[in-house]
Structure formats: structure tokens, C-alpha cells
């Protein structure tokens, strides 16, 4: 095994000069409809289609990889991939460590999912995924926060009563409520947090960021981005789109 690897490393090293560089896209793969691993074992979802289209427009060769949400920023900085495309909201805290492209999804609502519509959010802990804007929101607004590493676990926590509700992007929670047969419901209360969702890059990677920025802008200009957002398998016709605001400066 080791010999094989060393041999390959040498072959790879010698072939490096002439090859076109590949841009590695890092995602979480556990947050449908944004991104998930489908039954074929491939990255799928809105961000898969978007990422492939952006790479096509920017004339880049892209490769997908998945990484735990917990360590998704450190591994970007360490150079394991070049772009984070994982439903990451643009926030001032994150902008201190990474640089964001312009948003590709406008700010959307976060919703609470609970066992009943009259769940009291102050009666017990509220679940959220570690390191998300929703987790910060819960902590800052006088609710008791309980964090989980994956989105899946936050919902499971509500089902088994560890948390009274989970706060996450509404687009993630809505299908869960719809398919639960009434055992899970969305609360009426919703929160608007975050400044939209963008791609994250290393701060030193302005050149790559500019390429993706241009690609996102071109998708906003010709309306393909909005058309992609409202696809029923992604966010549906009622979701926020860029509309005319996205076409400014085209």
C-alpha cells in the first residue's frame, strides 16, 4: 500500500506541471435540499447543480468533496479544498476568517420544528447545529441552546424529546414536517437571520473568488439562478428569489 502510494505520489508530482488546475468544492452533504449525498453516493441537491453550472461558466474543472460541518472552515484554510459551498450564511464573524462571494441565495427564513404547534420555546432547550447562525441566535435570545454536530441529530433530538424544538433553515425543515404525518410541525414564529448564503474562499484567494463572483452575477442577470431556486425539488415557487434586484448592474 505504502509503496503504491509513494509511487503514485511521484507520478502525480511529475505530471503536475502541464495539468490544468482543479478547483475543489467542499460541502457538508447532510442538508437537503441544499446539499446531500444521494443514494448513488454522489453529492446532490441545489448546490450541486449550482456549483457545476458556476464552474462551467467560469471555465473551471471542479471536483466535489465532503467535510464535516464542524471543521469545514479550518480545512478550507488548510487547503484541503478551495471553495465552501454548503449553505453557509454570510455573517460578520465568518467574514473575519474567510471571504465570501456575493450571495447566491437571498436571506431566507429560519423556522422552528417541534412536536406540537403550541410548543413553548422557553420550557426547554432548543436544538441547533453547532457553528450555525441559528445556534448563535438561540444563545443570544434567551433560549437554552443544545447543539448537535449534524442537522440530522438536531431533528432527532426533537423527536425523542431532548429538545422542545429545532431552529434551522425553513427549507431544510419544511419537508420533514410535511412528511412526518403530523408528528412534527413548524411553529408560526420564524426568524430572519443571516445575510444570505454565499461561497466561502480563503482570504488570499481573491482571484478565484472574482471568477465565481462573475459567474454568480451572470446567472442572476440571465435569470437562470432564480429559475434554479424555484425548482420544486429545491426551494419551490414560494421561495425568495433575486428578481430585479439581482439584475442591477447587468
Amino acid at each position: 500500500m505504502k509503496k503504491l502510494l509513494i509511487a503514485t505520489a511521484l507520478v502525480a508530482a511529475s505530471g503536475a506541471a502541464q495539468a490544468q488546475d482543479v478547483v475543489r468544492l467542499g460541502t457538508e452533504g447532510a442538508y437537503p435540499p441544499y446539499n446531500f449525498i444521494n443514494d448513488a453516493g454522489q453529492v446532490a441537491g441545489f448546490e450541486r447543480e449550482l456549483g457545476d453550472e458556476l464552474c462551467k461558466r467560469a471555465e473551471l474543472t471542479c471536483e466535489w468533496t465532503t467535510n464535516d460541518w464542524d471543521s469545514i472552515i479550518p480545512n478550507l484554510q488548510s487547503g484541503n479544498y478551495d471553495v465552501i459551498i454548503a449553505g453557509m450564511s454570510i455573517t460578520p464573524e465568518r467574514e473575519e476568517v474567510v471571504s465570501f462571494s456575493q450571495g447566491y441565495l437571498p436571506p431566507s427564513a429560519s423556522a422552528y420544528l417541534a412536536l406540537s404547534a403550541d410548543a413553548d420555546l422557553t420550557s426547554g432547550p432548543v436544538a441547533a447545529q453547532t457553528g450555525t447562525i441559528q445556534a448563535s441566535f438561540v444563545a443570544e435570545n434567551g433560549m437554552q441552546l443544545v447543539e448537535y454536530a449534524t442537522p440530522e441529530e438536531t431533528v432527532a433530538a426533537v423527536k425523542n424529546g431532548e429538545a422542545v424544538a429545532v431552529l434551522a433553515d425553513k427549507d431544510y425543515l419544511a419537508p420533514m414536517a410535511a412528511e412526518s404525518g403530523g408528528s412534527l410541525v413548524l411553529l408560526e414564529r420564524e426568524e430572519i437571520i443571516g445575510g444570505g448564503i454565499g461561497l466561502a474562499f480563503r482570504k488570499s484567494d481573491d482571484e478565484l473568488r472574482a471568477k465565481f463572483d462573475a459567474a454568480i452575477k451572470s446567472m442572476k442577470c440571465d435569470g437562470t439562478l432564480d429559475a434554479m431556486i424555484v425548482k420544486p425539488e429545491y426551494f419551490g415557487p414560494e421561495s425568495n428569489v433575486w428578481g430585479d434586484a439581482g439584475k442591477e448592474g447587468c
Partner: protein, 292 residues
């Protein structure tokens, strides 16, 4: 995979289950068992080698070598595994890329810039253009090295203790026959120490088997990752929607680990019996009496 599975949402009952269990993701799950077994097959001898080197160094008559061995054992045993797996692996990875960058990059800029680590694209290991297989293989290699270092330290301590447990009289007799220090070590000490080391090594093997889920920290998709990913509830966005089935997947893993550790226990017991033959221990004495 199968033509009959082209439209999973129209399937029901057993044929649904059959298609579900043969989806590409499940095939990945089945392969990950081999990944884990392969990791064990490589890591166990590698740790044993590291442990042997560590113990021999710690016993050395040359002071700096002895210090090196003892510091290795003491440091690695004292640091929690998870820190080792998070910190050391990143450092190792960046170290490899830094060394490579000295060879293949021009300019030689210092790669650690603030929070970021930057080397020229040609110095990446594996290269960005390498397929996913190579990224997995590289993660796997890092895992083997890390496991070997961590478990090597524990193994070194076990072997160090076992070497000291060999009765002094045995070594003295060998010396009286005129054997050199090296000959005593090779002919007397090593063959006799295994029976003292085996209980400790057996324990480490069991712990190693159960430590394989740490693989996922290194980005290698192991069986626990797949069990969590496959078992999680799936909405209609997936081809095979289902509820939270993690319990079933984890029960499956439990059976796998129990069977595997049971087989190991039987193997270790047999080995202990074999190594005890003719030894000056209670186990050896019992075997002698039973035969007589």
C-alpha cells in the same frame, strides 16, 4: 445498480428493500468494512514495530536513545487520542506538503500565513486533480501512520514491561554461557518476553478494533460514518425515503464488532497457550503438569 431498481419510488416491500440494500451508497458501506479490516491489518504490525523500537530504545544503554524512547512513550500516552487525531494529522499533512513545496515550488514563500496554509498547487498531496480515490487513500495513509504512532507508544510500554518481566536468572545463565549482549537479547529475552506481553497486547488489539471509527476524523468514510449517514431519516429528496433507522444500522455494527472481538479473543487465547509452552510461568507450569 439493477435494472429493476431504476424507479425506486414505484417499488414496494421486499423488492424495495432489495434495491435499497444494493444502492451505490450501500455498496460503499459494505466496502467500508474492508477499509476497516485493511486498516487493522496494516496498523497492528506497524504498531507492533513502533512499539518494539520504542521499547528497545527505552531499554538502551545509550542515554540519549533511552531518553528518546521514554519521551516517545510518555508523550503519546499522555495526550488524548482525539487531540492526536485532530492536531497531529493536520501537522503531519502540512509538514508533508511543506517539504514537497521546497522541492517543487518556486519562490519558497513561508506557507503559514495567519490562519491559512498556502503552498503552490503542485505541492498539494494529493494533487487537487487527483481523483477522490487518492484523497481517500492519502487520508487512509495518514490514519495508518497516526494509529501506528499512538498505539505504538502503548505497545512500547507493554513490551518494555514484558522485557523487564523475563526472569533475571534466565539472562544470567545465557551470559554465563558466554553469549554477548546482543545474543542474549535475540536468543533469550525476545522469545521469552512474548508470553508476558501477550495479555497487554491483546488488550491493545481489542482497543484498536474499537478505535477505528476515529478514521472518520481523517475524512475516511468508515463503517460508523456510513451507519449514521444511511440510518438518518430520509425525506422525499432521496430515492429511498425512510424514517430514522440508525438504531438498526448501529445494531448491525454492534454485531460486527462483537463477532470480531470474539474471534480475536479466541485467537489470543490460543496464542497464549502456545507461547506458554516450556515457559517458567504459572501458565507454562500448568501445561507441563497437564501433559505429564
Amino acid at each position: 445498480m439493477f435494472a429493476a431498481c431504476a424507479d425506486p419510488k414505484s417499488l414496494e416491500g421486499l423488492s424495495w428493500l432489495f434495491c435499497y440494500l444494493t444502492s451505490a451508497k450501500h455498496v460503499g458501506f459494505y466496502w467500508s468494512f474492508l477499509t476497516v479490516l485493511l486498516l487493522l491489518a496494516i496498523t497492528a504490525p506497524a504498531s507492533l514495530g513502533m512499539g518494539f523500537l520504542g521499547a528497545t530504545a527505552a531499554r538502551s544503554h545509550i542515554a540519549p536513545v533511552s531518553w528518546l524512547g521514554k519521551i516517545y512513550i510518555w508523550m503519546v500516552r499522555g495526550v488524548p487520542d482525539i487531540i492526536f487525531f485532530l492536531f497531529f494529522v493536520i501537522a503531519l499533512d502540512q509538514g508533508i506538503e511543506y517539504v514537497k513545496s521546497l522541492v517543487v515550488c518556486d519562490g519558497g514563500a513561508w506557507p503559514w500565513q495567519g490562519m491559512e496554509f498556502r503552498v503552490c498547487p503542485a505541492a498539494k498531496v494529493p494533487l487537487a486533480k487527483s481523483g477522490p480515490f487518492w484523497h481517500q487513500a492519502y487520508g487512509f495513509l495518514l490514519a495508518v501512520i497516526t494509529f501506528a504512532i499512538v498505539f505504538g507508544a502503548f505497545t512500547a510500554n507493554v513490551i518494555y514491561g514484558a522485557m523487564n518481566a523475563v526472569p533475571r536468572a534466565q539472562l544470567e545463565t545465557a551470559e554465563a554461557y558466554g553469549m554477548s549482549r546482543g545474543q542474549v537479547f535475540r536468543r533469550i529475552l525476545i522469545p521469552q518476553m512474548w508470553v508476558y506481553a501477550l495479555p497487554g497486547l491483546g488488550n491493545l488489539w481489542m482497543i484498536l478494533i474499537k478505535a477505528t471509527p476515529l478514521l472518520f476524523l481523517l475524512g475516511v468514510k468508515d463503517i460508523v460514518y456510513y451507519a449514521r449517514e444511511l440510518g438518518g431519516s430520509k425525506t422525499q429528496a432521496y430515492e429511498y425515503p425512510h424514517g430514522d433507522w440508525r438504531l438498526w444500522y448501529f445494531l448491525g455494527l454492534m454485531v460486527f464488532y462483537l463477532v470480531f472481538t470474539r474471534i480475536s479473543e479466541i485467537g489470543i487465547a490460543k496464542l497464549t497457550r502456545r507461547l506458554s509452552h516450556g515457559q517458567a510461568t504459572a501458565g507454562g507450569e500448568a501445561l507441563r503438569k497437564a501433559a505429564a
